[in-house]
């Protein structure tokens, strides 16, 4: 009996890979519709901070993610833009990751059309800039000193979307969506230094590390991973890729739990019986 059970520990790990692949793939082919009932306080805080802004307020989005983190961050960026457009906020987009430019274009082409929002009037996408700290510092006094044109080369001075916006003090909220440490820079070099409200959207890996900033209110809210994206989609009542991913995530987590429990029970059995 023990010998038979011990074979479990020598199982070819590729069977586990296959099992995991099937577990994740099945809900994509045939969605189960498992509910996403718990909405974290951190995500709700981001939602409430946007919800309380009066129409016409300027929201700065720093979308700093590339295709490597797209499944987690693109749905939350999409939900944030949908929320901002539904509240008739003016949206400015900056990025410090060159690989994000294509994703930003894709996002605004889709969501802009959904809400009939116009480039230059309702939103502006500024070009990628290297040397993030220099850009952040410059934007505190005069953003036109660093951004004179949008990503298509159109001069931004005089654009309706930027009317009355010159520096951070004219912005109601900054939300950074990133899989890098760029959110830390927004907190340290902009939020704390110039008293600008900063919120964030990060990958699940980075999420626990931002707990201290949430506790001290240095971060006004935080959306974490695909779960966070699903939560935000629930809050704005527009299910998207985050919500559809919950089926797969729930099943995959269940599989991991079953594997951990099974192996521990077998281990205890082999050791003590």
């Amino acid at each position: 009996m023990k010998e038979t059970l011990q074979k479990f520990f020598k199982i070819d790990r590729r069977w586990i890979f296959l099992l995991l692949a099937v577990t994740l793939f099945v809900p994509i082919v045939k969605p189960i519709g498992l509910p996403n009932k718990s909405i974290s306080q951190a995500t709700t805080r981001v939602y409430e901070n946007i919800e309380k802004l009066p129409a016409g307020s300027f929201l700065l989005l720093s979308l700093d993610y590339d295709p490597s983190t797209r499944p987690e961050l693109h749905p939350m960026a999409m939900a944030l833009v949908r929320h901002a457009f539904s509240r008739n906020l003016r949206v400015g987009v900056v990025t410090y990751i060159a690989g994000s430019t294509g994703l930003i274009e894709e996002l605004f082409a889709k969501v802009g059309k959904e809400y009939n929002k116009k480039d230059g009037t309702d939103y502006v996408i500024l070009p990628y800039q290297p040397n993030i700290l220099a850009v952040m510092t410059q934007m505190s006094s005069d953003m036109y000193g660093i951004y004179s044109k949008d990503r298509n080369g159109t001069p931004i001075a005089g654009m309706p979307v930027l009317k009355g916006v010159k520096s951070y003090k004219d912005m109601s909220l900054v939300v950074c969506v990133t899989g890098t440490a760029i959110l830390d820079y927004w907190v340290a070099y902009v939020g704390d230094k110039y008293s600008v409200p900063v919120a964030g959207g990060v990958t699940a890996i980075s999420q626990p590390g931002y707990g201290p900033y949430l506790q001290t209110n240095q971060l006004k809210g935080l959306i974490g991973g695909m779960k966070g994206a699903a939560e935000y989609e629930s809050l704005i009542k527009q299910p998207g890729k985050g919500t559809s991913g919950i089926d797969a995530l729930n099943l995959a987590h269940l599989l991991v739990l079953v594997l951990i429990l099974t192996s521990n029970i077998i281990l205890l059995f082999v050791k003590y019986f």
Binding site: A98, A188, A204, Q207, Q218
Partner: protein, 244 residues
Amino acid sequence: MALDTSIIAGGWLAAGLTIFLFSFLYKDNPFFKIAEHLYLGAGMGWLFQVSVTSVWIPKIWEPVSKGELLVIIPSVMGLLLLTQFIPKISWLSRYGFTFMMGYGSGLAIPAGLSTDFMSQIEGTIRPFSKLASMTPFSILSSLIVAAGTICVLFYFFFSVEHKGHLKKVSNVGIYFLMIYFGAAFGNTVMARFSLLYGRFDDLFTFSGASYFYATQAILAAMVIYFVIHWLVSGRKPASEEEAA
């Protein structure tokens, strides 16, 4: 709706490269190598064009063309960093590094002290100044945060031998650290599954008729390759081949 040819080609490329890279989970193979080398090459090419189009042209070439000659100074300092590769004049790179160190430290030290040190100490202590207005749960939460901070700090205090009460406190600190590591690991697993889900979701999209069944075709081709390889290589299981 019929898709544009370039979109279909993009779908085949994306599905192919994804399956090629995942095929390594079964065993190493030439298709994985192709995808790996292509990724490295494309990545380098992408970085080069970003440097040229987003840094070199707008930050150096255009200002100099307009007569703004001051940008030459930081450009030269940047170029001096490359002298590291020439031992005889490598000392010149120090000027560039000196500037970077001074500029970086000047920005980072005050911000770091304020954001990660002072604000965090304040955030740990402040709740105790308004205990009367707090709910019992908030008080408990604040106590746990303060106790956790103190215990973990004791764990990292190495100038005194950890024995007696100090050992007990630092042991509690270990538990707080373990809870953090557990949460971080759980979140890492969730993040990896999310990324895998993203690739599978794309593979499912490319498996449709509008993409001419790219996923199925490439997957079938990979299976055929592995079967032929298995037959030709004397029917050794993959695990044995790897061990050999």
